[in-house]
């Protein structure tokens, strides 16, 4: 066990963890940020997606101890006063069914739109392919990413 300083959603946090502890479990169990979800633990499903220095990353597969110099953003930190354009689009199109995977979907979409603000449908499909939705809300995720791009332009 060792003490590490992390910057999560703009706030400095000190955690006492083993150096192999994935960021996911530090967020969920130590920092009470449970919006980031556990789905597979091996980077295959995308439910645990967060932003590290603005880039989408699978928090289940990266040790928190390696991120002491990074800005970590979770779904809880995506918007403060009002919903982000991606969240607005998700709401407008009534995307979620069970809702469990959606935080990860939103984090992936947000990071993707930063890199590609004017995607076509094929770009969106490629970008979102790594995130599983077991309820299969894929049609609406695809439409919501396109709508969010429109809102941001």
């Amino acid at each position: 066990m060792a003490s590490y300083n992390l910057k999560v959603n703009g706030k400095e946090k000190t955690v006492n963890i083993d150096d192999d502890t994935p960021l996911l479990w530090v967020l969920r169990d130590e920092l009470d940020l449970v919006g980031t979800k556990y789905g597979c633990g091996i980077g295959q499903c995308g439910a645990c997606t967060v932003h590290v220095d603005g880039v989408a990353m699978r928090s289940c597969s990266v040790p928190a101890s390696s991120l002491t110099d990074s800005e970590i953003t979770t779904i809880e930190g995506l918007s403060t006063e009002k919903l982000s354009p991606v969240q607005e689009a998700w709401k407008e199109l009534d995307v979620p069914q069970c809702g469990y995977c959606q935080a990860g979907q939103i984090m992936t979409a947000t990071s993707f739109l930063k890199q590609n603000p004017n995607p076509d449908n094929q770009d969106i499909r490629n970008a979102m392919h790594g995130n599983i939705c077991r309820c299969a809300s894929y049609n609406r995720i695809e439409k919501a990413v396109a709508l969010a791009a429109k809102k941001m332009s």
Binding site: M1, D18, T21, P22, W25, R28, D29, E30, D32, L33, V34, G35, T36, K37, Y38, G39, C40, G41, I42, Q44, C45, A47, T74, I75, E76, L78, S79, L83, Q87, W90, K91, D94, P96, Q97, C98, G99, Y100, C101, Q102, A103, I106, R125, N126, M128, H129, G130, N131, I132, C133, R134, C135, A136, S137, Y138, N139, R140, I141, E142
Partner: protein, 719 residues
């Protein structure tokens, strides 16, 4: 089945009304006794432990309404759609209504279950009556205050008015209303006057979901709670011989290791530490019973199909005679593997067993049955059990079984501390209660250009199709008809999986009809319409579907999909299926990309009666269809020496964005009572896809997953 504007009901539908100490009115109502006599409980009633639903609504003294919904939310949308029905008849603005998840309350709710796509169907009358009765009580209270006859008053949008132009809000009279007798002979709204039902209402948990608020079982925690990872036998048919926990106990954060039955629980201060501790356990597993293989299951199921001593589930006419006199006989055997549910939220449950009470929190589709089993298991009175349901990260049938909750209760009982059992994905997939592997053999006879006989045999692991399925189409449409079933008892645990049995049966039958159509040289859609024209609705009361509704649904799907006139390079496949009281027809459009089928679009027509919440309804259909296509295409799960061969998403393939077709959904418009949508969209999808692949390539698929069968044939489909 026609809706009535006026439904007579008695006070027994309401189980309690009371004024609240905090102000406001509380009304309890009983779903089950409020059901019309013609409403039948779902067929698998004993298995699903599914019976009546009760719920409460509270009207606060500011006029705002809360419904305590007893029905667990697993993503099927009832937490939104059920309150809409109350709000419609109570006549309050939708914005003034909120819904709270009811806790398990065995005194006030008799049984609380999500299953069988039945929540809306059973809730329809009761929810409307409750809303309308409450509205009348509020009107009666206002009339008394004004000293006028209640019949001269009316109410809408939360405001009561009288003939003199006076107005009172619901909140102004709610405390008086709570003291009144429950009125009878309430008039319900006509569907043409609906303001809320039939209009899109977004998911009531939307803001919480998209901002990452704690909602799910996995998110629940209490001060001092310990996380638990459980080592279970890696293969079905194994038990613990011995184990060494030395290394596990030396993992940072691990506090305790305990054996219970043939499982070992590792308790720790974090999920990660518990999981690491479990990996560090050294366990010597021993054989306890047969270690089964998928290849053995194949042989056993084939033996059943070949046998002549199966259980006859329905028999019309004389199939043997029809076969003997046939011009032509067609026979096919269809095979499907086991399937894990793979809810995105792995199984988990919180338990705190103390001398005072047993506190349980988590995602469960069957809270009452689970609480009873826990009381039994740890020898407690049912009254000690306090169970709270969380939102569920998917159910698909897996959370009907409370094994994970029982584990949590047992571990808390042994270790005397609050615990949260968390399954890893590997635990979730390897300790499943799977959709059983099933085979169907269908044989049909053709004589003088007509289908004269139909014989279906089912061979399944552990259990067979539930009671009403033999009465689904084509029962009633073919003169000589027989359904027989048999099963092989396995130690691999199996259970309900979204649209039990029909999730594969529909593929088998709907593919078979396509072959029959080809043999008869008739269009595939026309064959269904021809067969359905043999059925007179109501003539044989055992027949489950409505031929008229199915015909209308099929025609809508054919029209909207441009059936028979698809554009160049697009191949179409058709399937129609009735299940869970809803009629669905689907047309799958595929293209070939480098010789491989690419699913482009699915056009779906649905008759579920009145559509309560169109956006939610479409969500269910889109999800069900893509789920059906995904599992038909990719779902594969096998056992070697009792051990599941896939335990995570690196090898177990679920459908993803790029493989997903666009789903277009159309509803048959009518004013019939609504039926469920969580399951019925799924069954036809696999058959429609197989028929599209056949249209494109001539390949007849008989085994799921299709991808495996196509690859094994090494067919260049572009050839």
């Amino acid at each position: 089945m026609k809706n009535q504007d006026k439904i007579t009901f008695s006070r027994r539908n309401f189980i309690r009304t009371s004024a609240l100490a905090s102000g406001g009115l509380l009304i309890g109502f009983n779903f089950f006794t409020a059901c019309k006599e013609t409403a039948q409980p779902p067929v698998d009633i004993t298995k699903l432990n599914f019976n009546d639903f009760n719920a409460f609504i509270k009207i606060a003294d500011n006029g705002y309404v809360t419904i305590f919904s007893p029905n667990p939310e697993i993503g099927q949308g009832v937490k939104t759609s059920m309150p809409m029905i109350i709000a419609e008849e109570l006549d309050v603005p939708w914005e003034h209504v909120s819904v709270a998840q009811g806790i398990l309350d065995t005194n006030n709710y008799t049984r609380q279950v999500a299953g069988g796509s039945q929540s809306i169907r059973f809730g329809w009358d009761a929810l409307r009556q409750t809303g309308a009765t409450s509205k009348q009580m509020l009107i009666n209270a206002a009339a008394a205050k004004w000293n006028v006859d209640a019949s001269t008053c009316n109410a809408s949008n939360g405001i009561i008015k009288n003939a003199n132009g006076d107005e009172l809000g619901y909140g102004d009279v709610v405390n008086d209303a709570a003291k009144l007798e429950i009125p009878e002979n309430i008039t319900l709204k006509s569907p043409k006057d609906y303001n809320i039902i039939g209009k899109d209402a977004i998911n009531v948990d939307m803001e919480h979901i998209i901002t990452g608020k704690p909602l799910f079982g996995l998110d629940y925690k209490t001060e001092g709670m310990t996380y638990v990872s459980v080592a279970r036998p890696p293969a079905f048919g194994q038990k613990i011989n011995s184990y060494d926990a030395t290394a596990a106990k030396s993992v940072n954060g691990v506090s305790e290791v305990v054996q219970f039955g043939d499982k070992i629980a590792v308790l720790a201060s974090s999920t990660w530490a518990a999981m690491k501790g479990k990996k560090a356990l050294k366990i010597d597993w021993a054989k306890d019973s047969t270690l089964e293989n998928t290849s053995d299951h194949n042989k056993e199921l084939n033996k059943i199909l070949d046998s002549n001593s199966l259980d006859v589930r329905r028999e019309d006419g004389n199939v043997k005679k029809a076969f003997a006199q046939a011009d032509k006989l067609i026979e096919r055997t269809y095979e499907s593997p086991f399937l894990p549910h793979n809810c995105m939220e792995p199984m988990n449950f919180y338990a705190n067993v103390t001398t005072d009470k047993v506190h349980l929190v988590g995602p469960i589709q069957t809270p009452a049955g689970t609480a009873r089993r826990i009381a039994n298991l740890i020898d407690r009175n049912e009254e000690d059990i306090h169970l709270e349901m969380t939102r569920m990260g998917g159910g698909f049938g897996r959370r009907l079984y409370g094994d994970f909750a029982l584990e949590a209760a047992e571990i808390s009982n042994i270790t005397k501390q609050p615990v949260k059992v968390v399954f890893s994905r590997e635990d979730d997939m390897a300790a499943g209660i799977y959709r059983p592997a099933i085979k169907y053999r269908i044989k049909a006879s053709i004589k003088d250009g007509k289908v004269t006989g139909y014989h279906l045999k089912e061979a399944a692991i552990n259990s067979n199709m539930y009671g009403l399925i033999p009465n689904f189409f084509p029962a009633g449409a073919i003169e000589n008809y027989k359904v027989e079933t048999g099963n092989y008892r396995s130690n691999i645990t199996t259970g309900a999986w979204r649209a039990p049995y029909t999730n594969f049966l529909a593929f088998a039958e709907q593919s078979f009809f396509d072959e029959l159509a080809e043999e008869l040289n008739v269009d595939a859609v026309q064959l269904r319409l021809d067969l359905l024209s043999n059925v007179e609705d109501g003539k044989d009361p055992s027949i489950e579907y409505s031929a008229k509704r199915m015909i209308d649904t099929i025609k809508l799907a054919a029209k909207k999909s441009n059936w028979g006139n698809s554009s160049s390079g697009i191949y179409q496949g058709f399937a129609a299926y009735y299940s869970h009281n809803t009629h669905v027809a689907e047309v799958v459009d595929i293209s070939l990309e480098n010789g491989k089928p690419k699913v482009e679009k699915v056009t779906v027509a649905v008759d579920c009666g009145i559509v309560v919440n169109p956006t939610g309804a479409k969500n269910q259909i889109e999800g069900g269809v893509i789920d059906g296509i995904g599992h038909a295409m990719y779902g594969d799960f096998s056992f070697e020496n009792g051990k599941p061969q896939d335990v995570n998403f690196n090898t177990y393939r679920l459908i993803r964005m790029k493989e997903t077709p666009i789903v277009e959904t159309y509803f048959v418009e009518n004013e019939l009572s609504p039926t469920g949508l969580g399951e019925p969209g799924l069954p036809p999808a696999g058959g429609a896809l197989a028929n599209a692949i056949k249209a494109a390539t001539g390949q007849i698929l008989t085994k799921q997953p299709f991808i495996k069968e196509l690859n094994s044939r090494k067919t260049d489909l572009s050839a």
